[in-house]
């Protein structure tokens, strides 16, 4: 078992109206000087051993469905691994 996190963000050059709205609301609340961009976080509970094949498949899933790489980038993190002998804390970064 492992928990893998996929984080998706709008590309820097893409307008982020949600982030802008949050930035404006924070400013009105007195939290000035803060600029927000809003993305998404997916927590994937993965059964079985987290092999490289499995990680590759998750990467493919992120690219296929979780992110639209026309407008978004994504990063895959292994957050927690519950198998004693497997590498813990491996991080794979991807930006498409």
């Amino acid at each position: 078992m492992a928990r893998v996190v996929v984080e998706v963000m709008p590309k820097p050059e893409i307008l982020d109206p949600q982030g802008k709205a949050v930035t404006g609301a924070l400013d009105r609340l007195g939290f000035d000087g803060i600029s927000v961009r809003q993305g998404k976080r997916f927590e994937l509970e993965v059964s079985g051993e987290l092999s490289q094949d499995r990680l590759d498949a998750i990467h493919k899933a992120a690219e296929t469905l979780l992110a639209n790489t026309v407008i978004e980038t994504f990063v895959v993190h292994v957050e927690e691994e519950f198998v004693a002998d497997a590498a813990v804390g491996a991080v794979e970064e991807a930006s498409a």
Binding site: P10, L15, P17, A21, L65, L66, N68, V70, I71
Partner: protein, 226 residues
């Protein structure tokens, strides 16, 4: 024999019935298609209607793009079948990579609902052949995520190849790059529109009949091809 035009109903589709009605009003035979079926029921053309398929979860059109019916739509589009995506349908076609680019939340951060002036800039498509190049028309526009976006090289290519089908006039309502309201694929059989021509086929409910040529145009296109 009347042209058979299918309209796909996804869970959360909103304008499927208006599209079916527009097809009938414009002289073709409307055929209901179902998202979970892999049959296109032998139709000659397909419309992906507006609405909020799968609740717009994840991203607009992202989940619908993988509905069973879409496998058939993509295969037939690749063989040249006319496919029109309206609003949510446009979003689905972009997610399916049948059209370039993507649609993001309106820059004005509000839902937009208005009678929109447009200019027709490509008549070399399966759906816009009944218009004259440069025709100015009024079509209902209603969307929350209608901002058309693509990288600069893609936008340059779309302009150079004449793939911009309609452009917004009298102000950009949603932040779409280069005022783009609709695009086509290279072949011209697949068209995506943010405005809703199916709402402009009857003067009882709209200010113009400017939606009709989209539905008559595809029939002429198909008749000429046979």
């Amino acid at each position: 024999m009347a042209t058979r035009i299918g309209v796909v109903t996804f869970p959360g589709s909103l304008d499927d019935h208006d599209a079916l009605r527009a097809i009938r009003v414009c002289g073709a035979e409307p055929v209901s298609l179902w998202h979970a079926s892999d049959s296109l029921r032998g139709v000659d053309a397909v419309i992906l209607p507006g609405g909020f398929s799968y609740g717009d979860y994840l991203r607009c059109g992202a989940i619908s793009r993988f509905a069973p019916v879409m496998t058939e739509v993509i295969a037939e589009a690749d063989r040249g079948m006319p496919v029109l995506g309206i609003c949510n349908g446009f979003q689905i076609l972009c997610e399916a990579h049948l059209l370039p680019g993507a649609l993001i939340r309106n820059d004005v951060r509000t839902f937009v609902c208005k009678d929109q002036r447009l200019r027709v800039e490509s008549t070399d498509t399966a759906w816009t052949g009944a218009f004259g190049l440069g025709d100015e028309i009024t079509i209902v526009l209603k969307n929350g995520e209608g901002g058309y976006i693509a990288d600069e090289p893609t936008l340059d290519r779309l302009e150079a190849e004449g793939q911009v089908v309609v452009r917004y006039l009298e102000g950009n309502p949603n932040g779409s790059r280069r005022d783009i309201a609709g695009v086509r694929n290279e072949r011209g059989n697949v068209v995506g529109l943010m405005p809703h021509p199916e709402h402009n086929v009857d003067l009882l409910t709209g200010p113009s009949l400017d939606g009709r040529p989209f539905f008559t145009g595809v029939q002429s296109f198909l008749a000429a091809r046979v």
